[in-house]
Amino acid sequence: MKHALNVLSLIIVLYFVTGCAGVLGAFTDFTEKVSKETSDKASRSKGVLSPSDYIEKATAFEKNDELQAALFYFKVAGALNPDDPDIVDKISGLESTVVHKSFEHLQKGGKFFKNKQFKEARYHFLTALRYDPDNKEALDYLQNRLIPKTYISYRVSENDTLNSISENFYKNPEKAFLIVYFNDLKPDTAPLPGTLLKLPILAPKLIQPTLNIPEELLKAESLLKKRQYEAAASITERILQNDPTNTTAVDLKNSADYQVGIQLSREKKYGEAINMFKKITPKSEVVDKSIQDVIEKELSQAENFLKEKKYTAAIAVAENILSHDPSNKAGRDIMNTALCQNGKSLLIRKKYTEALTVLNRADPGYECVERTLSSVKNSMKKQAEIHYLQGVKYFLNEELQSAIKEWETTLTLDPEHIKAKKDIKNARGLLEKLKKVQ
């Protein structure tokens, strides 16, 4: 009996000495058992995975570049099988890989961001964050720096007042109340130098003063009557910025643009006149006819330049006609004739390279151009030969530098001249040897 009482006393003492910790310790032992048991019985128990199952999952994720998921499953496997050194190594390797890959993409994203290639930057920041969900810098770019700003920060300088800051930023001192509101300032107090202010960004439309549209329409009409077409067009443009569907403004603007086009045509500024007519919407027969009239005038001007042998001017006008009307046959003929004549003139002056450049701008197959091109190429070959022989003469007189110069000219005229290439190499070799001897 005494023995039984002693045992009981010991149990009581143990209970109170170890307390809950003792019980939890026992619980931990139990969990270890559960853990091992889970591991051992895993394959037998339906729905319970073993360490090897988690390793298999982790490996599949790793193969798919889902490194965070792979890391996670390796950790689960490691928890179930803490004595496996391979798992520990794998975890440590993966941890370093994710940080490295994340950093690489962060760097790339930063470069794209700097170059304002925001789509590409966003892709790299997202990838950086996918590899390392704790990459704070990538997150900051995505959540803050890639989102349009609503404020600009401004540090107050000496002599700044609320009105002067407002004048600088909003082109209007009367918007100072915005600075007061967004920075919790007192309206009549100048902010202290060095203070950082938040200035809300305003859309351009909000910075412009309000437009009294009926009044502005009257002004535009009056200017049109006074034949001040450009001023009238400018007012109507402003009205349309505020009210794009204002049909009266559209009509007035069309009238003003048409008159400006006629004026430009009279001043022989044909290209500008056509551009002005093309601004008129919707297109009308009157406008199309005006454009055709201007093109006719341009054609006549280009023909005159051709007759006067002013080929460069003729080419410029013909180019302008074709830019507005690419299928204009008369314009194309003038262009090709002028290019051919210009090429011939350059050939006579032995400016072969320039002649080639000019002739190559013409349409292929144009007879005059083909003939002149052939003459230029023949002349170049003949000239190349003359320079080659002159080079040989220099070579025989032991004037190696002059010989090389002549042969180089040969090559500019005939890049395939085999002898010139060979002789230049030979002469340069001799010059090297001479240098060494001296």
């Binding site: 996670f72 928890a79 349009p148």
Partner: protein
């Protein structure tokens, strides 16, 4: 002998009493683990061998301090319900934070409804049958309807949400929302947010404050959609810039104050009338402490969306279920390698 027997009985009684009190104290100290056998705790996860008393919700409550996160355990272990004796992995943080995966990222559709009609639908009014079909589709196809708070926690990169998450919102405070949409939402147990423009409330076809109060008491989220529903981006003819600014401030501030008076709640989200906004409006919202704001630009939202330009897809009437499905994109393919 009787004296000795009595002594033994006293000692045994005291021992069992102490034992009982001790175990009771220990049990009271660890209430979270009453039913489950905790196998392992790691920084990133917990391994638990479940008992027959566990559910996804109780596990989430015990180990993630949030009973609504049962989906996280279900998604992770690829299960729909728990079976006793199974070892489950409870992730302590999401595997795909921000919904980022190798082949793209998670997006969350936010649906916006306006008016409802009992029978035939109109351009912006959805019929009762259409709405029922749409909600049923969400329920039966594994969509999780989340609150705007959950959406914003996801956008803020704080909390994960289920893969197939969607949020439901209603604009304008039409009375038909209360009569038609509200019972259907209750039936499916879906959370929703009602954006109201306060000048409309109490009008002929609008909800009354009492009805809005009822919605709020039943756990639905009531938020602001300005005072008058004017297009905030348009400055009225002959309105000076200062007058325009003051009008904006009032449109945003007044309904919030009224809401506080009527519902004892303030607004943290705003739906822009006609979905239109500009930088100045956003600056005022930030100044007034709004957490986010919603447009009606079509499309789903990734976590890195501009919080003051969150997209919402308008659900119009006369749309069949196929058209409805087009608004439910929950993943954007974009290889992130």
């Amino acid at each position: 002998m009787p004296k000795s027997e009595n002594r033994k009985k006293t000692i045994l009684f005291k021992f069992f009493l102490l034992n009982f009190l001790f175990l009771a104290a220990c049990a009271a100290g660890t209430p979270n683990h009453r039913n489950t056998s905790k196998a392992f705790i790691d920084d990133d996860f917990i391994l638990v061998k479940t008992t027959d008393k566990d559910t996804l919700s109780t596990l989430a409550a015990d180990h993630l301090n949030d009973p609504t996160k049962g989906w996280l355990i279900a998604e992770f272990n690829d299960i729909e319900t728990l079976t006793s004796g199974r070892t489950v992995v409870i992730p302590r943080s999401p595997l795909h934070k921000g919904g980022l995966k190798t082949d793209g990222f998670q997006t969350v559709p936010v649906l916006v409804y306006h008016n409802f009609s009992k029978n035939s639908s109109g351009k912006t009014s959805v019929s009762e049958a259409e709405f029922e079909t749409q909600m049923k589709y969400l329920k039966e196809n594994g969509f999780h309807v989340i609150s705007l708070d959950q959406l914003l926690d996801f956008i803020d990169y704080k909390e994960p949400i289920p893969d197939k998450s969607v949020a439901i919102t209603f604009d304008d405070a039409w009375g038909s929302i209360y009569d038609i949409a509200f019972p259907i939402l209750k039936k499916y147990g879906f959370p929703a947010t009602f954006f109201i423009y306060t000048d409309f409330v109490g009008g002929g076809k609008a909800m009354s404050w009492e009805q809005i109060q009822t919605l709020s008491e039943q756990g639905f989220d009531i938020q602001c959609q300005t005072k008058t529903h004017r297009n905030l981006t348009v400055r009225k003819k002959n309105e000076s810039f200062e007058e325009y600014f003051k009008a904006l401030e009032m449109e945003i501030d007044y309904p919030n104050k009224l809401m506080e008076k009527k519902l004892k709640k303030t607004c943290k989200y705003l739906a822009y009338p006609y979905g239109k906004t500009n930088d100045l409006i956003i600056a005022i919202l930030k100044k007034q402490g709004y957490r986010a704001a919603f447009t009606v630009e079509w499309g789903s939202n990734p976590f890195f969306v501009d919080k003051y330009r969150i997209h919402r897809s308008i659900i119009l009437g006369k749309h069949d279920i196929e058209s409805f499905k087009k608004n439910l994109s929950v993943f954007k393919k974009n290889e992130l390698k």
